[in-house]
């Protein structure tokens, strides 16, 4: 082979090697990223990043009012709930049974109902010997509101649909997400991007695309998303749904 020809061929080969190595390195890094967070952003996926949502604000305000009203009859100092700042998982909430254990109900018929419930559930030892009376109405209100930690200091939560607001399914999802999203004031001003997935059974799953700079907010968000996993979502028509959502705690 002629030396000149060999020179040119080796040049071409070296460039080819360079490109191959370059692509291999890029693919390696891409694969590493994908294993860290498995998510796919479809073109259809909905960007959610609310700034104002008046409809939902009203709900939150109503909830707050109701909480205040329900707190008034409870005068027992021992049962004052300490203010908690930071994230709380739904599991370690203040026991509702203890909260409203001292409420007296005037009607006899209600007393009977309370007794029957007492038998079925095992009350905590410190209440033994006491007359534990539960007001059904208070329980119902709390159940409806689905707020378990009444003393939680709330920041304004925000989830906003940029696209897909007309979609009734998506609006249902936003409603559920917004309903339970109660970030603490400590994490206010932070934002995180999450890819949520709802399978054909209505099971919820998520992948956090990027976290916020606040660790408190991130912790709260993860706890909240884990909590959402226990919830049933409306079943998507197309079998599986992936939505990109911005979770934000406003100042």
């Amino acid at each position: 082979m002629d030396n000149k020809k060999l020179f040119l061929i080796s040049g071409a080969v070296s460039i080819a090697i360079y490109i191959a190595v370059f692509l291999a390195v890029l693919l390696y890094f891409l694969k590493t990223q994908e294993t860290l967070k498995k998510f796919t952003i479809k073109q259809k996926s909905v960007e959610v990043s609310l700034v104002e949502a008046p409809k939902f604000k009203k709900i939150i305000e109503q909830k707050k009012d109701k909480i205040k009203k329900s707190e008034k009859p409870v005068k027992n100092k021992k049962q004052k709930v300490k203010k908690r700042v930071g994230s709380k998982s739904p599991k370690d909430e203040v026991d509702i049974a203890k909260l409203f254990s001292t409420i007296k109900t005037p009607k006899k018929s209600k007393k009977k109902i309370v007794k029957s419930t007492k038998k079925s559930s095992t009350p905590p030892s410190r209440f033994k010997g006491q007359n534990i009376r539960r007001t059904e109405s208070a329980q119902e209100i709390l159940k409806k509101m689905n707020i378990k930690d009444v003393s939680r200091v709330l920041a304004k939560s925000n989830i906003e649909a940029v696209n897909g607001e007309d979609d009734p399914y998506l609006s249902k999802i936003y409603e559920i997400l917004y309903k339970y999203w109660l970030p603490s004031q400590e994490s206010a001003g932070n934002r995180a991007k999450v890819m949520i997935k709802i399978d054909f059974n209505g099971n919820f799953d998520y992948n956090i695309i990027f976290f916020s700079s606040s660790e408190t907010f991130n912790k709260e968000l993860v706890e909240y998303l884990e909590y959402l996993k226990t919830k049933k979502f409306p079943q998507p028509k197309e079998g599986k749904k992936e939505i990109t959502v911005f979770f934000e705690a406003k100042e």
């Binding site: 061929i9 040049g11 070296s14 360079y18 370059f22 890029l26 990223q33 700079s213």
Partner: protein, 188 residues
């Protein structure tokens, strides 16, 4: 996100110095591969000719084969002798070690070049830490990306040094063949 997006995303976050460092290291990598492939095959071919010539001399031939460098050298000068054989040997050594200097330079300097790019990137990452209320979550990826330049430098150095040693060995083999031929010729 595809590969191009990953690459463009990295470039958009890198400083101009880091990009320059990476471009330089890329050039180094292309050139060292070019030098190695060209020199390796040309030396291999040359060694093959010298081997045939040596074998023919050992078999009893009075002159080296026409493809041998000694034969060409003697033909050009028109004489034969110890001094001329030494001269031809030095000329062949010079030709055989072409490109080795560049490989040596690339092997020793590319880690430093990569390190330079990393230091600049880390400086920028720390300046970002000073200006904004960035947490470790923000700084850690920036430092991780800064280390790409060092990794690239070391990667290039590994190849450059290995190629240098390979070609040095090939050159040594070639000169050995020429030396053996000249010794055989002069002993006759």
């Amino acid at each position: 996100m595809n590969t191009i997006d990953v690459f463009l995303d990295y470039l958009s976050r890198s400083s101009s110095i880091t990009i320059a460092v990476l471009v330089l290291l890329s050039l180094y990598f292309i050139i060292i591969n070019w030098v190695f492939i060209y020199r390796y095959f040309s030396l291999k071919k040359w060694i093959k000719h010298e081997d045939i010539s040596l074998k023919s001399l050992m078999m009893g031939a009075k002159k080296p084969s026409p493809d041998s460098v000694l034969s060409k050298c003697f033909k050009e000068i028109g004489k034969e002798g110890k001094e001329l054989a030494d001269f031809c040997k030095f000329a062949a050594t010079k030709e055989a070690t072409k490109g080795l200097t560049f490989l040596s330079v690339a092997a020793s300097t590319s880690p430093f070049i990569g390190l330079f790019g990393t230091v600049i990137s880390i400086l920028e990452a720390f300046s970002m830490l000073g200006t904004s209320k960035a947490s470790i979550g923000v700084i850690a990826p920036a430092i991780g990306e800064a280390l790409v330049a060092t990794a690239a430098g070391i990667f290039v150095a590994i190849f450059a040094y290995s190629y240098h040693l390979f070609l040095k060995r090939k050159g040594f083999e070639l000169i050995s063949y020429i030396q053996m031929q000249s010794d055989l010729l002069l002993s006759k």
